[in-house]
């Protein structure tokens, strides 16, 4: 999968990444950054690590200046993008000075109910990263669904088909077909594993084992307080029998995406009708021309060319299909999430119902 870069040094090509391994420090940093930042959506940061033999080992991360709301205009985007890049390079230099594992392997983003595909920011950034080093990934941390004891952290890469289609920059039907791009294969997800160093394992053990007070079971108060003390004690909060705020938000986002999709489809439909009208006009003109040519042939005069319709009639421009592609992909994501959430909820519900009716 890795496309060769402009300098062809075969020894430096590494095999495509199949798995991602994260350090525990990284996970905690990402959680803290995304939770604490003010705008819950524009938080991004960079990942540092190395890829070995098809496994991308990410060892640490640092935060980048956040994406602001008014970055839609091209000017703002390039200014803040350059500032962010300068920040990244400076921080990487400093970290390398200390002997950190080198290599900028990707970036992470915090998102809400998995709505990261419907803005072109994700796709553009990931494209830029993947163009330079084909093994960069994007980690997406889902703020709304990482509750009740579950952690939703997913790693994505753009598929080579999508990258090829992106390079052409014209989002027409023909280019999409040529590269076989559909909403289902824009991004591919990589499995994520967590890796702890020895010291981190010690810390985790010490966080989960209580220090025993001398009078252990002499009062209930002691039992209660022992339960609450430690961050790693199991609370079984995933047994909660409500679908959570995340589900509702998911559905709201789904409806919004459907509205946007409708708008895009309206554009496509409009273009189609324009095209049909122009074609009808061209046909009319052509038949007139042919009739005239028949007259001229009868009178032995030179025939008029049939190609002039190209100069006279301007066909309407095809709309850019990138946005509707992204929105469709986003809708698919939302639907799968609704599926998964409801699945666990239905199992819990039927479990409780069985307990009561038996």
């Amino acid at each position: 999968m890795s496309e060769t870069t402009s300098v062809n040094i075969p020894e430096l090509e590494s095999p495509p990444v199949e798995r991602v391994e994260l350090e525990s420090m990284l996970v905690m940093n990402i959680i803290k950054h995304c939770r604490d930042s003010i705008t819950n959506v524009g938080t991004i940061g960079q990942l540092v690590g190395i890829d070995i033999d098809g496994v991308l080992q990410v060892s640490s991360s640092f935060e980048s200046p956040s994406v602001l709301e008014n970055e839609e205009s091209a000017v703002n985007k390039s200014v803040s993008g350059r500032a962010r890049q300068a920040h990244t390079e400076a921080t990487l230099n400093r970290m390398q000075y200390l002997g950190a594992v080198t290599g900028h392997v990707g970036w992470y983003q915090g998102t809400y109910v998995g709505a990261f595909l419907n803005s072109s920011f994700f796709v553009e950034t990931q494209y830029a990263y993947q163009k330079e080093s084909p093994n960069s990934i994007a980690l997406v941390y889902d703020l709304s669904q990482s509750c009740n004891g579950s952690l939703i952290l997913r790693a994505f890469q753009l598929t080579p088909e999508f990258m090829a289609a992106y390079e052409e920059k014209t989002w027409t039907v023909t280019s999409l077909n040529k590269h076989h791009v559909s909403p289902a294969n824009i991004v591919r997800e990589l499995p994520v594993a967590i890796h702890n160093s020895h010291l981190a394992t010690c810390l985790l053990h010490s966080l989960s084992e209580p220090s025993k007070p001398s009078s252990l079971l002499s009062s209930e108060a002691a039992l209660d307080s022992m339960e609450r003390e430690l961050p790693l004690t199991e609370t079984f909060s995933n047994f909660d029998l409500n679908l959570g705020v995340g589900h509702k938000k998911n559905l709201e986002h789904l409806l919004e995406s459907v509205d946007e999709y409708h708008y895009e489809q309206g554009n496509v439909g409009f273009h189609q009708r324009q095209l049909a009208r122009e074609q009808a006009k061209i046909q009319q003109w052509l038949t007139k021309r042919k009739a005239e040519n028949a007259n001229r042939a009868a009178e032995n005069r030179p025939l008029l060319p049939l190609d002039e319709w190209k100069r006279i009639f301007k066909l309407p421009a095809e709309p850019r299909l990138l946005d509707s592609l992204l929105i469709s992909a986003q809708i698919r994501q939302h639907c799968s999430q609704v599926d998964e959430q409801s699945l666990s909820f239905v199992s819990k519900l039927s479990g409780v119902r069985n307990a009561y009716t038996s």
């Binding site: 996970v27 905690m28 959680i31 950054h33 939770r35 579950s150 967590i194 809708i331």
Partner: protein, 318 residues
């Protein structure tokens, strides 16, 4: 003489401004410190770095939220800390996160010696004229030590300092007062820690992330094993083979009385209606997905119907 961290008695002299009484540490800081300590160079026994965070309004609570490492060199006579590096990293950090300021520093050995006092005073000292603030002046500076010596269990201590001693040697002496600390704990951190702690009993120290259903299965199995243990214990007490403990018994009765008692058929009604709502939503979502797929196929089928520009030519030049 260091007091136990949880039971420290903080005696401050009465002043107009209350000093900090409590330090809250975010677990990501601890992980970063441990990671940094694995990268120390050979001639240093410990590594140091800067702690960043926020202070509460009244100054009584300090929250430590992130950190970065600072290179330093230590020999038997002197210690050098690269403040230039500290300044540069601090500025970079402020660009990404303008709310966090310097609140202290950390070290990975639990000894407090003259060098610690020197570094502490360095961080707490006022900046020179005209240069931006780099230390914690005028606020007190927190010192966090994490003992990474693997022969002793991992211990974490936090200190605040107050100057002590006669004026000529004020720079390298200070009294470290231990301060109670707690680890920041909210739901997100818990879920993160739980995911990260999954491989802790595994020799290869690697574990994948679990989906919701797998988590549910694991939790259910755990609860089942806990119930088994409790029922074994109760059975033993009934048989007389284990001594009865009144506290445990009362606790169990309290837990069991939490089960609500509703009639079976009423439950059935409530649950069925809720279940149906959820299933309707799932069905609609799946229908939506199928429809999107069909729509994208029909767009890409554009070409086959001959509406593209390439084919227009051949069509019209019949």
């Amino acid at each position: 003489m260091v007091l136990e961290a949880k039971h420290a008695l903080h005696l401050g002299k009465p002043s107009s401004k209350a000093g900090p009484v409590h330090v809250v540490i975010d677990p990501s800081v601890l992980f970063s410190i441990l990671d940094h300590s694995t990268r120390r160079s050979e001639n240093n026994q410990r590594v140091i770095g800067t702690l960043l965070g926020i202070r509460s309004e009244d100054g009584r609570e300090i929250e430590v939220k992130s950190c970065f490492a600072v290179p330093h060199n230590e020999s038997s006579e002197q210690v050098e800390v690269e403040m230039e590096y500290h300044r540069a990293m601090y500025h970079l950090h402020l660009k990404a996160n303008p709310r966090e300021v310097v609140v202290g520093w950390y070290a990975t050995s639990s000894d407090l010696d003259a060098f610690s006092a020197l570094i502490q005073n360095l961080y707490a000292s006022p900046p020179e004229q005209g240069s931006p603030a780099l230390g914690t002046y005028p606020h007190p500076c927190v010192h966090l030590t994490v003992d990474t010596d693997v022969s002793t269990p991992l211990s974490i201590q936090t200190y605040l300092s107050s100057p002590v001693g006669i004026t000529e040697r004020l720079a390298d002496s200070c009294a470290f007062v231990p301060t109670p600390y707690s680890i920041r704990d909210n739901e997100a951190i818990r879920s993160g820690l739980k995911a990260v702690a999954a491989p802790k009993n595994d020799p290869s120290r690697i574990a994948g992330l679990f989906t919701d259903l797998q988590q549910l299965k694991r939790s259910t199995l755990e609860v089942l094993s806990m119930i088994e243990r409790v029922s074994d214990y109760v059975q033993n007490v009934i048989d007389g083979s284990s001594p009865a403990n009144v506290a445990v018994g009362r606790y169990l009765v309290k837990c069991l009385s939490l089960v609500p008692s509703i009639e079976g058929h009423e439950f059935e009604k409530i649950f069925s209606s809720h279940l149906q709502d959820v299933l309707v939503v799932v069905y609609l979502a799946n229908t939506l997905r199928t429809q999107i797929d069909i729509a994208s196929r029909s767009i890409s089928g554009f070409e086959e119907e001959g509406y593209s520009y390439i084919n227009l030519d051949e069509q019209l030049n019949v």
